[in-house]
Symmetry: C2
Subunit: 324 residues, 2 copies
């Protein structure tokens, strides 16, 4: 019998869902705006509708849908499926799993979006067949997921993978978490944006970024940075040199400490850039990792792109269903 699952990518602005077969093929998708300002129960109704829409668009029969997987933002409990805190949704202690199971009647599994992204790469993307993987996602912040022996590793407090908050430069720039010198404070898009704003506004440096954002430096997106690099913008190049260096420091530390088989790099910043960026990160990591340690470690780009969320969530559904 066919066994399908539905993967849901629950974001602050949109909800994506997909019916995914046993081979990881997407059979149908649906998309809805999150409208996070609505009451929680209405947002959950919308997730439910989005799931049903993807199912209806697919040609599969209801009894082939074995489970639903959801990648959601924020700290959450993967066992109970409660979203503990998601600032971009305005959620606190939302029992997402049980609410959806009540609406749909199919076993539902929830995990954090970066964990789900890492699991997706392990199951269907760059890390197929690789048992020990660290996923690093560079965007507004820097998030991560850890696959150990083929399964997501959650840790004692279910918070494993907070790669953005390893400290690479004690006493360095202030991080959103309150500490100083976290990887996220040095190499996220937020750090790059701050660096650009500082150089352009306070130091009066010239940059194509000013033109690309029509002078609104709050509007620096990953695509803006990529365009500036393609334009060989000196200031952006300088900022990226720092980013690649600190990503190298962070990856070097992780490689020395955990020695995983693979580091998968993804997220908005990585997706907007070409393979040259990965090459530079690899080179930087080589400087900071012990030579023998780095030998067995692949540093690669995530492969799933826009489908990462739904495919990862589908992988989650399948893995959790099988592990009981």
């Amino acid at each position: 019998m066919d066994t399908n699952v539905i993967g849901v990518d629950m974001g602050g602005t949109k909800i994506l869902s997909a019916v995914v077969d046993a081979e990881g093929q997407i059979l149908a998708t649906a998309k809805m705006p999150t409208q996070a300002k609505d009451e929680t129960s209405i947002v959950i109704d919308r997730i439910s509708d989005c799931i049903k829409e993807a199912f209806q668009k697919s040609d599969v029969s209801a009894d082939t849908i074995r489970a639903i997987g959801i990648g959601a933002p924020g700290p959450l409990d993967p066992e109970t499926g409660v979203v503990i805190f998601a600032p971009n949704l305005g959620w606190k202690d939302v029992p997402l799993k049980t609410e959806l199971e009540a609406r749909i009647g199919i076993p539902t599994f929830v995990d954090n979006d970066v964990n789900v992204g890492t699991l997706g790469e392990h199951t269907y993307g760059a890390g197929r067949g690789v048992q020990n993987i660290v996923g690093i996602f560079v965007g507004t912040g820097i998030g991560g997921g850890i696959i150990m022996n083929g399964e997501l590793f959650h840790g004692a407090s279910k918070t494993a993978g907070e790669i953005g908050h390893i400290i690479v430069q004690e006493g360095g720039p202030k991080c959103g978490c309150g500490n100083r010198g976290c990887l996220e404070a040095l190499a996220s898009r937020t750090a790059m944006t701050k660096g650009l704003q500082n150089a352009i506004i306070k130091k009066g440096k010239k940059s194509v970024i000013t033109k690309l954002t029509d002078g609104d430096l709050q509007q620096i997106r990953s695509g803006t940075l990529a365009k500036a690099l393609r334009n060989k913008d000196k200031l952006t190049q300088k900022i990226f040199k720092k980013t690649t260096k600190y990503l190298g420091v962070g990856i070097g530390s992780i490689v020395n400490f955990l020695n995983p088989e693979m580091i998968v790099l993804g997220g908005g910043v990585v997706e907007a850039l070409d393979e040259g960026f990965i090459k530079k990160i690899r080179k930087a990591a080589k400087k900071y990792a012990l030579p023998d340690t780095l030998k067995g470690v692949q540093i690669v780009r995530a492969q799933l792109g826009d489908d990462a969320g739904v495919l990862g969530a589908a992988a989650l559904a399948r893995q959790r269903l099988n592990s009981g």
Copy 2:
């Protein structure tokens, strides 16, 4: 039937062996000088003699000895049991496992001394019943071992656990590995000794360390540091403040990244000091770890002391025998 194993702690200056029963009780021990300058085959004969001596001192019959475990220094391959490089033994590519099996005829398992130390704490010490542990051993250098799901985690290049070489202060002091700002360069006994030498010799600072070492500042041992602290020596206190801070940064990073259930602290420096040192490290780690992340993580002192090596090696023998 009784099942016993023999654990061997193979160091640069001495070889310790112990017959250990199924409950982790040491039934008999033996000790020999390593005399590492001798030819490799002679040193291995000596290990074999040390194993036999412990066995003869015990009252157990030969057929109850199921396996031999050895903790050895340096990078080594835990599968083949080849010691790849051990500078303090002058060894390169020594097939320790096969050489000992040829001499004794009992399955022999080899792992790195810090891995074995961590496994010992997991099996018989501070980490009994805890499935995910990071061991951190502070001595001349800083070494570490990782237990994931109850078993030693070796990683892609069999080098997992190089905690001394996570970078906590990019651009910081030079490390023996060639990089800058590694944890080992900031918080090992070597780093403390350098700090003391620099302050006393170059800056003319007063310290009880001068008297404790009869003016030979090459002779600063962990015990010397402990004595100086008990004497409330200002300079040593200052140096230790830095040590605890950077151990806190390193542990904070590990807790944020891996979120293990337990961090076990051991090694010469930790053993020489009292619980107050652990408390200070805990406090420092609290500053650098994310609050939610640290909640589930115990930071404790290693319990096995002088027996750590042989008991860890015994645990290795038993675990490897059982895992086939």
